[in-house]
Chain length 252, copies 2
Amino acid sequence: MSDKAIVTACLIIIGNEILSGRTEDANLAFLGRQLNELGIRLAEARIIADDEAAIVEAVNQCRRRFDYVLTTGGIGPTHDDITSAAIAKAFGVSLERNAEALALLDRQYLKKDQNEARLKMADIPAGATLVENSVSRAPGYQIENVFVMAGVPKIMRAMFDDFKDRLKGGEKVLSETVTVFISEGAVAEKLAAVQARHRQVEIGSYPFVRDGKPGVSLVLRHTDAEHIEKAAADVREMLGDLGALPAKDLDG
Amino acid sequence: MSDKAIVTACLIIIGNEILSGRTEDANLAFLGRQLNELGIRLAEARIIADDEAAIVEAVNQCRRRFDYVLTTGGIGPTHDDITSAAIAKAFGVSLERNAEALALLDRQYLKKDQNEARLKMADIPAGATLVENSVSRAPGYQIENVFVMAGVPKIMRAMFDDFKDRLKGGEKVLSETVTVFISEGAVAEKLAAVQARHRQVEIGSYPFVRDGKPGVSLVLRHTDAEHIEKAAADVREMLGDLGALPAKDLDG
């Protein structure tokens, strides 16, 4: 990759329902792409249970290791929403009823349907800065380099939109994908030679089978478009020599 | 949960393409459900890059902490497939050309289209036991409590099918889902009271919005059907008192 420092992020997905297979996560791919647009590399993701000790440990390990940590899930009104209490514990601060968050909730429910459980969504770790939720008001928040979001995709996206200007990215990673019908095994040796000639460019190989025919998508990634183009030219020449037929990239 | 020991597993998904958002993981939900059928709780999942240090660290952390570790991805023929070398390093063993794996690959390619890159798929950490791949032959393997699988979902499923009899589960976690149209905030307080009366049963609350109407799925989990039924009766009575209308569970 580039010589400039790479800015990294880790996503912590909090929720028993993802681990049990009940719900499929719909946030990771979105955030991976969005962060890359900002010049931030999603370097790891963890999916953990609604368990205080697990949340505290994951947050404390990851906030020290990555430039940014994003969490999703567990900030609703019910008894199983324990993320905010765990985040407060991870940072060694108290969980406090936040006046600004309270005002947002009051506005949402017009005081007519307010209750103690809903007020729980105004309990925010001390020292955190709120993240706006344009969908359903109850806010997320930022504490140091950790951004805490809801798990519902529509709300998560609104929250990410609100705080993304606070993130400082590095250079954006660009990519080019070359997709052909050929088996990965048939291309592997020559591809390794191309990779050896273009060490800075990260070349990923992703096999697929379509209509019974083996194919492969070769994804070239670097922050410099010129580096990518030179390596891609070599990849295309190599594939031409092997007689591989072009195919459509359905994933990229 | 039950008094009996809970058997746990961790899934390590290896692949830059998942983190970049290029490819959506299709294995986690399947494995979460399958493991539960065997009485094993998927307690954590990590998604990490194709990076040797990251793989070594995740495997060594997780194999000591969980009863089983499953990995997906990075065992193909190309230069970016580094999982097996990293697993060997994690266990402090050598990566050896495995005679049994070699025979499988020879059979697949009938020696006509064999090449050094394909042979790389026969390089297996010393001491590992092979896992059969009924789709495309190139095997996975087990080393101690770690099971190494391909990332392509069809192949991953075939491999899981082959080794699942080697896993020793505990009691299977049963679940019952009650889905109604009501906002999570309106149900939270009374639900917490039900949870307090049925401490052993894990009650999860998953909100949704359908046709503009807020709803919630309440998922009750325990190894004992009778415990679930008693708690579910309380949940239904509570929801009836609140006037919540039944809805269809679209996720479960």
